[in-house]
Symmetry: C2
Subunit: 327 residues, 2 copies
């Protein structure tokens, strides 16, 4: 692809340091990168794109964009039980290049690649007349045959989620000016949950050999559980009263019961949703404690199809477009 | 990343068939793809982005965009000597979705992934308010330690190129309305060279163990040879009279000697430029013949730095920004 003037300087100054001397990156000075999984391991590859104005508003701090970009990809690796290894980054930036912006963006990448132990090994840098576009392809390692898939849920499995559910969607609503009466520290909590997902990487790795099926919650709790049900050919019954909610979400729901829709159908939580034998509950709690991430059992898998969420009184909550078919 | 309405239908209808049932693609229904290189092999990963209005003009047939997108990535794999294996595709498409356009785009992908023997294993589909953006991450396999790098050129090596040089840049000029007197079939030849690169995949594979250094010509002949020189800490001396030119390029140069600048400095040829011991010339010609790609010896590597192109009379041709330092 034809190069912009200054692309090589940009790569040398901003991106090459992010390789951290990784041999396979070849200094970002070759046609591709080299990566080989350890013996007996496969690579997991995932890609996600963020576009200015679509996935984050104009004016979002560049460090946050960078960290969210890495983290949404890391969350996909976590959902597969993979150990993060490396990533490729394609950036399309508006002309003229805003170098202070790019420096902060790379600072965000550096911070999170150190935290999650992966390094940049390749990429592409182009100019665009449109909004900025960022694509990361993240690569992780998983022992052969041990990747967590969406398709392994079995009737009788218990259903678990990490962390708290709904904060991402509620954080987006806070950002848009809703819930003005919520205490500032709770508003900030929800905003940070929206802006800065916590990919459950160590939990995903710990669930190898334990979880039957796993997914990260990006489309929304109900939709993502439906994905597991579809690919596993099973149904799911969830107890609303068991859903782990943050204090901020609890306060919003006390005033606005309709916000339950945001909790169940909103996206961007980036928590892990997984199934396992109910007999694995102790092992799962031990793993969760080791990872410092709360995990909650919220329901069970049966031989039906679709997702049923039972309300406090045992009746089915109506979820637009997520019907439940019994057996 | 939050999903558009209809993303799942788009994936099922247009993208899933492109996995050709590859197991590691997991039906594009999981959080990532699985890929493991054969024993004793490493993966080569490369990524390239094409943006509407930057890398191709509006109105370019979607099949051509798709095929160029795959081919520029395949050309990077070829330059590393890698066997194509799989690719991930991220597409950002303007709303509302133009389905006939997308169908043709996928037809182009299908045609070339069959030709070059790789399959889609993952991706991301988002809507954008800006121009369409396409990012491919291509993965190939290469025996451990046999990847062709830019850094292996040695003083005394002969320099070779595949195919003919300059057609890509001249094709772009034809597209912009230049050279109106050129015969239509020659204009079409140059246009097709610009629109549809021929990645030299089988030649790259055949050069494992033979070539010392390799690159594909995307930035331009002189710039790409300079990349080899920089990373290998050597200099290059090229004879202009040996440069392989197409009939179309010859005719243009006969009328417009200034077009030599397009030949040497223009990009988008996607030919392989490589160095090897001069004693390997016979083996290289045999490999080239087997691959059906002409290869021409055009110069030699020495212990200097930078790129010198010698004119017919032996004097140095002036190349903007590519100085040559003797020893």
């Amino acid at each position: 692809v034809a190069q912009e003037r200054g692309e090589f300087e940009i790569i040398a100054r901003y991106f090459r340091p992010l390789t951290e001397g990784r041999a396979g990156a070849l200094g970002l000075a070759d046609d591709g990168a080299l990566i080989a999984p350890a013996a007996g391991h496969a690579l997991v590859a995932t890609t996600d794109t963020l576009i200015a104005g679509v996935h984050f508003p104009g004016g979002t701090p560049p460090e946050l964009i960078a960290r969210k970009l890495l983290r949404v990809n890391l969350s996909d690796l976590a959902a597969m039980g993979a150990t993060p290894a490396a990533y490729l980054l394609s950036v399309a930036l508006p002309k003229p290049l805003n170098e202070p912006w790019l420096a902060k963006f790379c600072e965000g990448l550096r911070e999170d690649q150190e935290r999650f132990k992966l390094a940049l090994i390749g990429g592409d840098t182009v100019a665009t007349a449109g909004p900025a576009v960022f694509t990361v392809t993240a690569l992780g390692e998983v022992p052969e045959g041990q990747a967590l898939l969406r398709s392994g849920a079995k009737a009788g499995d218990a259903i678990f989620v990490s962390g708290t559910i709904g904060d991402g969607a509620l954080g987006l609503r806070v950002m848009r000016g809703e819930f003005p009466d919520l205490a500032p520290q709770l508003r900030n909590f929800l905003l940070s949950r929206y802006h800065l997902p916590q990919p459950r990487v160590t939990l995903g790795m710990a669930l190898r050999g334990i979880a039957h099926a796993a997914i990260d919650i990006s489309d929304g709790f109900a939709a993502d559980l439906a994905h597991i049900c579809e690919t596993s050919h099973v149904g799911a019954i969830v107890e609303w009263t068991r859903m782990p909610l943050s204090e901020a979400a609890e306060q919003i729901l006390a005033l606005d019961p309709d916000a339950r829709k945001s909790v169940l159908a909103g996206g961007d939580d980036y928590e892990l949703l997984f199934t396992a034998e109910s007999g694995s509950a102790d092992a799962i709690q031990a793993a969760a404690q080791k990872c410092g991430v709360p995990v909650t059992m919220i329901g069970r898998i049966d031989r039906g199809s679709g997702v049923l969420v039972k309300d406090v009184d045992g009746t089915a909550m109506v979820l637009d477009s997520f019907g439940y078919q019994h057996f």
